[in-house]
Subunit: 557 residues, 2 copies
Amino acid sequence: MPSDIEIARAAKLKPIVEIAAKAGVPEDALHLHGKHIAKIDDRFIAELPKRQNAKLVLVTAISPTPAGEGKTTTTVGLGDALNHIGEKAVMCLREPSLGPVFGVKGGAAGGGHAQVVPMEQINLHFTGDFHAITSANNLLAALVDNSLYWGNPLNIDPRRIVFRRVLDMNDRTLRQIISGVGAPTNGYTREAGFDITVASEIMAVFCLARDLKDLEERIARIVVAYTPDKKPITAKDVDAQGSLCVLLRDAMRPNLVQSIDGSPVFIHGGPFANIAHGCNSVIATTTAMKLADWTVTEAGFGADLGAEKFMDIKCRFAGLAPDAVVIVATVRALKMHGGMAKTDLSTENVEALKTGLVNLGRHIENVKKFGVPVVVAINHFYADTDAEIETLQTAVKADFGVDAVICRHWAEGAKGAEGLARAVVDLVGRQASDFRPLYPDEMPLLQKVETIAKEIYRADKVQASAAIKKQLKEWEEAGYGKFPVCIAKTQNSFSADPTAYGAPTGHTLPIREVRLSAGAGFIVVICGDLMTMPGLPKVPASANIKLLEDGTIDGIA
Amino acid sequence: MPSDIEIARAAKLKPIVEIAAKAGVPEDALHLHGKHIAKIDDRFIAELPKRQNAKLVLVTAISPTPAGEGKTTTTVGLGDALNHIGEKAVMCLREPSLGPVFGVKGGAAGGGHAQVVPMEQINLHFTGDFHAITSANNLLAALVDNSLYWGNPLNIDPRRIVFRRVLDMNDRTLRQIISGVGAPTNGYTREAGFDITVASEIMAVFCLARDLKDLEERIARIVVAYTPDKKPITAKDVDAQGSLCVLLRDAMRPNLVQSIDGSPVFIHGGPFANIAHGCNSVIATTTAMKLADWTVTEAGFGADLGAEKFMDIKCRFAGLAPDAVVIVATVRALKMHGGMAKTDLSTENVEALKTGLVNLGRHIENVKKFGVPVVVAINHFYADTDAEIETLQTAVKADFGVDAVICRHWAEGAKGAEGLARAVVDLVGRQASDFRPLYPDEMPLLQKVETIAKEIYRADKVQASAAIKKQLKEWEEAGYGKFPVCIAKTQNSFSADPTAYGAPTGHTLPIREVRLSAGAGFIVVICGDLMTMPGLPKVPASANIKLLEDGTIDGIA
């Protein structure tokens, strides 16, 4: 069996000009980055008319396990298959972060015969969007400390600077630092820290902004610090929004690449799915919807986090309404939810599968609460048995009235996902979406958290200290009450306990901390440990990444 | 009089494909970044034959003053003029850093009618080279702390980690930090710090490497830390060189742009001229010399620093020999060297000019010591009087036997520098270069410093503590004795005192500190204050940089 990288290298890439033309984008609207990557000009996008009946399909998944589900792969496979059966589809994915590439994961651009290319560039600097976001974030951070340094005209409380610096790197030693050490010319000594770039509020803002004007307004609103009497100080107060927009102008143009099957794919933006909303940029999604009949996109982690935030944050802000949701599951992963160890997954175990099905079932029920039709994609692995697959398909249909379609895009490419593509087309034709977010803007903040906790996580209650409740009240009084909430909790379980597989009930959702993302426009609610700057493992992926004699890159994915 | 930015915007840019074709680079050897910027493929470069009689011209300057000299502008003007008089010239410049763009300076891409375009992209992220260098630097730094974290198998002394992190940003509060604060999972607490990216040893290595293989070998040799008994630990010891090369592969391809007059210009690499050698990449220079009869390049700061390092470091490593040196001077700046205040410079003052001429005279004498023919370019300003210009030309000819040519490229473009171009062609035809570095590889390190101090700076002696002498001896014993020295001192004077204008003598060069750059291949000798991380001013340039309604960038340069 060829590896992902062998398949990617064997792929004959078409010139991106050709892919763009197929998607209706003329050459003079492209900003080329080599022969196989292009950014789409913002003026071209602004002038594109809205498309009647553009359909939006979200690909999400069961609660992730170490067995792997294949959300990106399925997004690519479904898009390719839609194009194969004569529909016109464009896919929208998130950009990978450099941190994991050199840390644990290697690359992130799909897999097998459902990949996006050129794989190495996408996984490395790509078109520099994350570098632009890093620069913008760190310019804003420097401007805050600089204002403090030059006489502190804004009355910044150095203990209450909340905007952190970022690097697109896994570097645990920067999580918590003391900055401004040494000479007085080094500024005021204070506690500070770095997050990974995907956790930057600039990343969230970048992905939610509808255009450059919206970007500037959102940046201006970012709260960077407080005065000693807790009055917010914003990016506008340090005159940052203009420069940050200049740094982000080119990055805001969505990046067009291709799947190895030749479908047009936007890869643009990549906010964390915990501290932020975990979806590609609004601009990429809305552009795709102007160009194609079908836009297939994904959201980070399982449906409890990714799909919920896609609906309640991204769609709410962008005025989008998904037409269908695909929930990806694997027999292997469901068997892990049913209690099997990872090492045993190649053994047939219908009972474990039946037990684990509760996880999938709950995600189906949850997604239906948003009024959107659902279909399940069973991402096929070679060790799956007929008995397991039949059990899964039958149960999903019987218990939840939903089709579960076998997909073999990893091994077979577009052809392997044709069944799924036809099921999606059929579903959307048959069942109109009646999309509604889970809660209205007007609901008080704590009640929004409680609604998600009860409706989606099935917790009995939400635990919040008096201080947290007071903070939420203060934000409501300061005009932030209409914000949606962005819950950061473990992706491995519906509950806050990462070891609680399956479909736990009766648990409590403990709020540890709340943070205001005034630019992004949401309140981050942190439940459990939140890692905003990962570390490198004992043997980082970097140790095996190298250039070969002929200049090709070895060791990524 | 139109401003730089107005001239740049009014310029009709040719497609870079056309500029490349003129320089002999076919379209399929280009990696396009939009319509007006391209990287040249490394395999194409490797296969290009060496050009017989390729000539290399260095543009350097008198000791810089606040009056401005115009080195980049003259480099562009000279190249344009060479092309105008029927020669074939390519220019090589350094890439600007983002830090100064948002700090004090605005942009850096020449000026008037002698500019490189597209100006905004060049001054912002350009092709992402500096971002790649930042990422590579910070991955290496993270790998060092990660090795310490996971059981410290290399026996790294946390007090002796010498490799610092970088950001391409002016951020004084990061100069000196305590990292690894907080939980044990945040690593070991230690003193650390950030430099600006141009001060990274990765930047110096990037600019000195002949090809990717050389790059990998140099990276492997970088000393990142020491054991408690002072044994060096290198980048190779943390398995970094492969990943760093992968991060730098695309960046290593030289960037081709155009002057507003349509000449091909490489802009590639940009190491600091204090802690490093201050010249564009060896790869860009050697590529230009394969493509054109004339390669015109520049080096940072005045000739005492820039030209000396160009000769003793860059040319030594790359096997290059310059055919001529152009020393740029202005009447205004020489009047400052003669004691005038900046505010009075528009007044004619022949006496001040005569006094200030000593600065230019000494730079001429110095450059001649390298065996390279010299011509002076007088970069004309509108307030220069005939009497002043005549005095200057006559004195330079009489006292130093060198031509001083008036240049008006700022106001008139190529036409304004035709005289200079003809003078350079004439000089090179008439006077063969007999290039030799100032000192041989074999000279002991301290003696190398003394040689530069006496021959170039005209100091009476070098002051070095016993500890510094011992350190230099130790490095000689460890095999680093053949390295050239890279002196970091103020650019404003021949001496270590920035207020000593003109041509001071009888001074002492005080060595404050020495550092090993084992990857770059030189010893940094720090004399006086060394700023490797600038701060932002009270009103940073960023406050006036913004996007206009139509998406154009306002406030850069």
